[in-house]
Amino acid sequence: MIETLVASIVLFTLATFLGVELIHRVPSTLHTPLMSGANAISGITVVGALIVAGAGYGWISQVLGFFAIVFAMVNVVGGYMVTDRMLNMFKRKPGGTN
């Protein structure tokens, strides 16, 4: 048990460093889309929700699981869609050399 905890901590640490390094200089126009995209990723709790809801431990799990799934799914679907819409606002102009 403690072994998996440590393994989880290792993963968490590495991913944290990776998150720090991934984001460098973001033009402020991208701040909101980036935030929104990251937010959609945090909807990954949907996986947890699925597991809880699917485990079938009785009505509490069912009900809570249902709400968790709904919340997380709104977050995921809404998040990605919204991000995409925002990004569609700036399409590359033609003719640039970069």
Binding site: M1, L11, G19, S28, M35, I41, S42, I60, G79, R85
Partner: protein, 462 residues
């Protein structure tokens, strides 16, 4: 599905998130980034559905359908201008999901009379607290942005102390919960309630303009909550994705603060100190919109037509050479740059000509007022560099103004206007300029030479 295969597919999903985030931070790859990241999400959900022995598909299908539909509808109908509050709302729901999942695991164990391992208990408590704070904090942020509640900072005496006490209470109760083996439920409910309250209290003292930073920070929190949920249910993709969002969200908050020339601490707790935010309001209470060099650089990179309006400030800053360099860069990126020379720009006849000739700006790019005024409305971006009176609409509209009747450059008709000056100082005529308060206008404050030098390096980096 074999657990190993599932784990490898989860890893693939995590890689999608990693690359997705990376690509999202550059304009050229951002669209690709969202797509990839969403593929990762679909993958993670699919793996979960197939992997675990899901007993009751009913609830799940219903949940997915309802949640997906709401998300879709929300995203389709929200107005472009309401994006920030939309993100706040979504983020709150994400936090809420973590809160619910944590609660469910906790309640399940209590109901089944299981004794959870200490580490799981701890992480459940963390997921709970962070999820709750994210939920109510995000809702407050939404309310502030949607102007459901006042955008102003709400403070009351001893606010920091109260917050600290509440936080201590939540942590203490959690610790108690974890350490007491028998089944007690009240600390759980109280902890949840305190954390929900804390979310509200932490956000209300922050001004509406700073909400994006708060949302980004809460987004980071909801990532951490997700990671904690991962600890609870021993799921790697949750841990990785959660940690990624957790750390990148903090970095993003910092970048956003830096772009506003503030520190994160100042944003979060600024309302308690002296409110040193400079007043950039006109006599009628209008406020100007401030912008940053990297933002203007992106606009320049995507603008097809740019007009530079130089004024006396350009001369004072001796920015003629850097302006030329900036224009060259914009043209290299595919835009066109022209210079609109007002007859009385500067302090002597031909002042702008002298400067721009020194910087070798080709003469055919210097257009006088009559030649260029009709072009403004077809122009993507106007950069007003240290000019003031010559673009003051009061000359057209306000008969009481000392400059009434002077023909001006129609900078206000462009699609977007950037004004470079040191502060809100007036020009030669000593009067206020309503152009600066135009909703299409953004101010880039600072010495023109310094600002443009910064623009040049930002533009090169794009």
């Amino acid at each position: 599905m074999a657990p190993a295969v599932a784990q490898l597919l989860y890893l693939l999903a995590a890689v999608c998130f990693i690359l997705g985030l990376k690509w999202l931070s550059s304009p050229a790859t951002a669209v690709r980034g969202v797509r990839l990241s969403s593929i990762g999400m679909v993958l993670a959900i699919a793996v979960t559905l197939f992997d675990r022995t899901i007993l009751s598909y009913g609830t799940i299908i219903a949940g997915l359908a309802v949640g997906g539909a709401i998300g879709l509808w929300g995203a389709k109908t929200v107005k472009m201008t309401s994006m920030p509050q939309m993100v706040a709302l979504l983020n709150g729901l994400g936090g809420g999901a973590s809160l619910v999942v944590g609660s469910a695991e906790f309640l399940k164990s209590e109901l089944l009379g299981e004794v959870l391992p200490v580490d799981v208990s701890i992480t459940i408590q963390i997921a709970l607290i962070i999820g709750a704070i994210t939920l109510t904090g995000s809702l407050i942020a939404w309310a502030k942005l949607q102007e459901v509640m006042t955008g102003r900072a709400i403070t009351f005496p001893l606010q920091k102390t109260v917050n600290a006490l509440l936080f201590a209470a939540a942590v203490g109760l959690s610790a108690y919960q974890v350490s007491v083996p028998e089944s007690v439920l009240w600390p759980f409910y109280v902890t949840a309630g305190v954390a929900l309250l804390l979310g509200v209290l932490l956000v209300i003292p922050i001004g509406g303009a700073d909400m994006p930073v708060v949302i980004s920070l809460l987004n980071s929190y909801s990532g951490i909550a997700a990671a904690m949920t991962g600890f609870v249910i021993r799921n790697e993709v949750l841990i990785i994705a959660g940690a990624l969002v957790g750390s990148s969200g903090i970095i993003l908050s910092q970048i956003m603060c830096k772009a506003m020339n503030r520190s994160l601490a100042n944003v979060l707790f600024g309302a308690f100190g002296a409110t040193a935010t400079q007043s950039l309001k006109s006599a009628e209470g209008l406020t100007v919109r401030q912008t940053t060099a990297d933002d203007v650089a992106v606009q320049l990179a995507y603008a097809q037509s740019v007009i530079v309006v130089p004024g006396y400030g350009l001369a004072v800053a001796q920015a003629q050479h850097v302006v030329r360099e900036l224009a060259d860069l914009v043209e290299k990126k595919g835009g066109t740059v022209k210079y609109a020379i007002h007859p009385v720009a500067g302090r002597m006849p031909g002042h702008m000509n002298v400067l721009l000739a020194e910087a070798n700006v080709p003469y055919d790019k210097l257009l006088d007022m009559d030649a260029i005024n009709a072009e403004f409305e077809r122009t993507d971006l106007v950069m007003v560099i240290g000019a003031n009176d010559v673009v003051n609409p009061a000359a057209r509209t306000d008969p009481a103004s000392p400059i009434y009747g002077m023909p001006i450059l129609n900078a206000d008709q462009a699609r977007s206007i950037i004004v470079l000056k040191r502060g809100m100082g007036a020009g030669f005529a000593g009067i206020e300029n309503e152009l600066f308060f135009n909703p299409k206008t953004a101010m880039l404050f600072g010495d023109a030479k310094k600002s443009i030098t910064q623009l040049v390096s930002e533009l090169k980096a794009l």
